[in-house]
Amino acid sequence: MTRALGWLAVLGLVVGIAAGFGYAPREAIQGNVQRIMYLHVPAVLTAYLAFGLVLAGSIGYLATRRPGWDRLAAAAGELGVLFTGLTIVSGSIWGKPTWGTWWTWDARLTSTAVLFMVYVGYLLLRSLIEDPDARARYAAVVGILGAVNIPIVHFSVKWWRALHQPSTILGPERSPIDPAIGLALFVNWVAFTLLFAYFLSRRMEIARLEEQT
């Protein structure tokens, strides 16, 4: 099952790259650099999926005390950090030729960076506790708090930006969506989700076997 998922993910990624580079048109304003979006946006969507699963796993564990929920949270947390990191790096690389700078404190990047730090802390906490039950409980609390905090972070950063940058920079996300671009984006998003599912499945299996050993 996991193996099938893996191959499906590979297929999806191949199709996605073809869509992003071959099928999708060259964007009018930014040129070919805009193609990074087919990596950047699916990455952040996958990260949000991951953190949603961390929340689910956290609540699930506290409610039922079944280790499977904690395994879900642990695996999803790891993947969330991975994909958030990809989001930030790809966003930064996209920003350099587009905005002229590697980093800017715009709302999206800042929120994503904060998200990254919250969940790196989550993984750090997990790595420092040996007792599986305590680890699961503490991680669950942090997982719940971190997830619930996401909208709060979003609004605070957005309003903070409005203070400091009344003139809106035309961010990459602002281009009107050409249907071809939209389709390429969708295909890549599906591919990323498949890849995520594959990694999640393998990572959870590892956790399950480790507990038994």
Binding site: L62, V114, M117, V118, V120, G121, L124, L125, L128, I129, D131, D133, A134, R137, Y138, A140, V141, V142, I144, L145, G146, V148, N149, I152, V153, F155, S156, V157, W159, W160, L163
Partner: protein
């Protein structure tokens, strides 16, 4: 014994210990003084640059003091083998959280009052005119900081590398509180009316509600084991 009474006992115990030992208060007071000098030296002699940075520095000071003070919330219980005592407390454990939270709010408020006075004196900033709205922002920010800080302090007390893990966990979660309080403080110090910062106050109030609720609901899970 009622819920409220249990919470009150925790608060009273901590205040009493503090009053007798005075270790926290003295050290934190001195720390605040040090921060003042630190900020001044870091920003240089330019008066205006310092004045412009005051809202951020003020909250930076609270947070740094908070990291020190809050992180130690449960150290007394841990060092004196009282952790079991907490665990065996009958009834709803969240009463302990509430008591600890109240104690931390008292501590943080004391630190803030001192810092505000020191800022006013040493940096020659007028913090008296906007005192009332500023106090509101301070109160809301304090609750947010203490709510999560108390919860994480309980968690990290038993963990290796506690001194590192506590700030690493707390600070990212507190970003919204920091952004809101600094923005609101800045606006208030510039003489803007309270109505202008209403959205920040609502954000803070909402965040505080969320944090305290989660603290109350999850504290028993932290206390186990």
């Amino acid at each position: 014994m009622t819920y409220a009474r249990r919470a009150w006992i925790i608060l009273w115990k901590d205040l009493l210990i503090e009053r007798r030992a005075k270790e926290h208060a003295n050290a934190l007071l001195f720390f605040c003084l040090l921060l003042l000098f630190l900020f001044q030296f870091a920003l240089g002699p330019d008066r205006e640059r310092l004045a412009a940075a005051v809202p951020g520095l003020l909250w930076l000071g609270f947070i740094l003091a908070g990291l020190l003070g809050l992180g130690r919330s449960f150290l007394g219980e841990r060092d004196n083998d009282c952790w079991e005592g907490l665990r065996l407390t009958p009834g709803d454990k969240s009463a302990i959280y509430l008591g600890k939270l109240a104690g931390n709010c008292v501590l943080m408020t004391a630190v803030e009052i001192i810092l505000v006075i020191l800022f006013g004196v040493f940096y020659n900033v007028d913090l008296w005119t906007p005192a009332a709205p500023l106090a509101l922002v301070l109160a809301l920010g304090t609750i947010g900081l203490a709510a999560v800080g108390t919860l994480f302090a309980a968690m990290t007390t038993q963990v290796r590398a506690r001194e590192l893990l506590f700030p690493v966990l707390l600070l990212p979660v507190q970003v919204p509180v920091l952004l809101a309080t600094v923005s609101a403080t800045q606006a208030l110090l510039l003489g803007q009316p309270l109505a202008d910062v209403a959205h920040w106050l609502k954000l803070l109030a909402g965040a505080d509600l969320v944090y305290v609720t989660i603290g109350l609901l999850t504290f028993e899970f932290v206390l186990e084991g």
